[in-house]
Amino acid sequence: MSGPKTLLDRLWAAHAIHTRADGAALLWVDRHLVHEGSHHAFRKLGERGLGVAEPALTTAVVDHYAPTRARMDGGASDDIRRMIATLEKNAERHGIRCFGLRDARQGIVHVIGPEQGLTLPGCVIVCGDSHTSTHGAFGAFAFGIGATEVAHVLATQTVWQVKPKAMRIRFEGALGPGVGAKDMALGWIAQLGADGARGHAIEYAGPTVAALSMEGRMTLCNLSIEGGARLGMIAPDTVTFDYLKGRPFAPQDTGWERAVESWRALRSDEGASFDREVTIDASGIAPVVTWGTSPEDALPITSTVPDPAALTESKAAAVRDALDYMGLAPGRPLDGTPVDRVFIGSCTNARIEDLRAAAAVMAGRRAKVPGLVSPGSMMVKAQAEQEGLDRVFTEAGLQWVGAGCSMCVGMNGDLVAPGERCASTTNRNFRGRQGPGARTHLMSPAMVAAAAVTGTLTDVRPLLKGRI
């Protein structure tokens, strides 16, 4: 292929081992991450008597079922203990490095990959988890796969894929204070829909994206899947290289210099063509919250709950359903809606910068509702404690616990009670996601902190006056 290339073209060409006439390509996988949910895949492997092709390129971590309290008891139930033990056994049997509950490197799979320098630009990265798109923030081609594919990758270190269409979302203009990557992401998903980017690989670009930290970029790429995209990515730059330099699994010394040199070529050429382009003015973005049961049900905190009466019948039914589940009255301002609890955690927003943003709002204030703060990894936890952020949260009255997926998905028993309304930094406000009958509102860490100290959904910006 000649002519200007996209980042997608470059990553694709570097990994395609074989392309079939029908368009399916066999891609080499540089990094495979597995967690407790991989039990189906390991069983498939066992049934066929196959081994793991590249244990050194595979990393296992306990996260989905990880207990966040009383960790050394091993879990809240026999089921949970069994899930964790099964992963550890499978990892040991196949010689895969495994970050278990006693490992200082344990954390959510999409937090620990970058943190350990396992996630590198130019890699194809897969994991049996949809938010694998997070790793695209480093200029990697990273996507979630199902159990059959996990078994395939374990056995062959390759994956069959049809090349996704290329889409570019450009953000232009400076973000206002108290507004960040989470608001950018929920903003575009509300605009295009939860299936708006279906079949596409998104490249995020533009000055607003370039100005984001790695943490912000990861949040943005993480949520790509909530807009239906196969994956999201950002061309690596100095911000990327500075983040990775010296990380344990990143190349060292002369290897590092050579790697950076090759990574600089990982970008879209001037004039490269995309199947779809969207441009968004970031200066107009206000802090966003979700009101319904899909991430596309997102609005600026300054708006009112949608009114089905003002919509066409086909849209109205879905909105009515969602409001009924969420227990919200149509037409009322979102600001001021009382919440029952808050959760700060998940692969979307539990990195150090997220905790700092929440702490900036909470410092010296009391939470009016109970809540949980679960750092994305034990390394993030240690760093936060060094900075005294844990005390900000505990003095406000929130619980400071260990790392894991926790209340993002509730598999470890950290649940929101039926009917309770939770302001959450997570990525899915699906029905029952945080527990049967739980009502989830997605928002940024700063907005969750604002909800904690006021006991309602509220605009964080006034609370930040004189603080940032």
Binding site: A14, I17, H18, D22, G23, A24, L26, W28, D30, G37, H40, R43, R48, A56, Y65, D79, R97, R105, L118, L120, G128, D129, S130, G144, I145, G146, A147, T148, E149, A151, H152, A155, T156, T158, W160, V162, G193, A194, D195, R198, G228, R230, P248, F249, P251, Q252, G255, R258, S262, T293, S294, A318, G410, M411, R428, F430, R431, G432, R433, P436
Partner: protein
């Protein structure tokens, strides 16, 4: 897995938009071994009020007993990569899901388990939902990509790669093993082209 090209079975309609994978199977059931069957988890919380089955829910109605074709609304199977969502459908007896849009990972997982995710236009989706107000027989032809319900005919789309896979019942691991030499050659070159792929220090 056995391939197939035609299917005729009872169709049931689920008109709610955005049936995500957390609805298809709530997370708390995912630690169960597959051998116990996942059919009983299908849409578990959506079809119940508390623990009581909702008799009005389309899949709970006696007329829907034995359904194998599900006609759904926009954005079916969005969300998590959990293949268990597909296991729940397959173990409950479904062979085909028809919708105007699908979660991408869900659709791939479906094909890996012999379940057809048939993509139809919004208009055809609405017509089919209406036609299945009462559960009715549906015919699906993978060769011609056609769906027939009484006198209503609709075309569906599916990536050619996925269609072939369903028809032939291909298993990817078998296919890939035929390329073992190419994979080995690719791997050997990596040491020159991207040496950093293999982490040297065990941190």
């Amino acid at each position: 897995m056995a391939g197939w090209s035609q299917h005729k079975g009872l169709g049931v309609a689920l008109s709610r938009e955005g049936i995500d994978t957390d609805q298809l199977i709530p997370a708390r059931f995912m630690s169960a071994p597959r051998s116990e069957g996942y059919g009983r988890f299908l849409l578990h919380d959506l079809r119940r009020t508390g623990e009581t089955p909702d008799p009005e829910f389309p899949l709970n109605r006696p007329a829907a007993e034995g359904a194998s074709v599900l006609v759904a609304a926009r954005n079916f199977g969005g969300g998590s990569s959990r293949e268990a969502a597909v296991y729940a459908l397959v173990d409950a007896g479904f062979r085909v899901v028809i919708a105007p849009s699908f979660g991408d990972i869900f659709a791939g997982n479906a094909v890996n388990n012999g379940l057809l995710p048939a993509l139809v236009s919004e208009a055809d989706g609405a017509r089919l939902l209406a036609a299945l107000a009462e559960p009715t027989e549906v015919s699906v032809d993978l060769e011609s990509c056609r769906i027939q319900v009484r006198d209503i005919e609709a075309r569906f789309e599916i990536e050619p790669v996925r269609r072939t896979k369903l028809i032939k019942g291909w298993d990817d691991i078998d296919l890939t093993q035929a390329h073992a030499d190419q994979i080995a050659a690719f791997r050997a070159k990596l040491a020159e082209t991207r040496p950093w792929v293999f982490p040297d220090a065990e941190a």
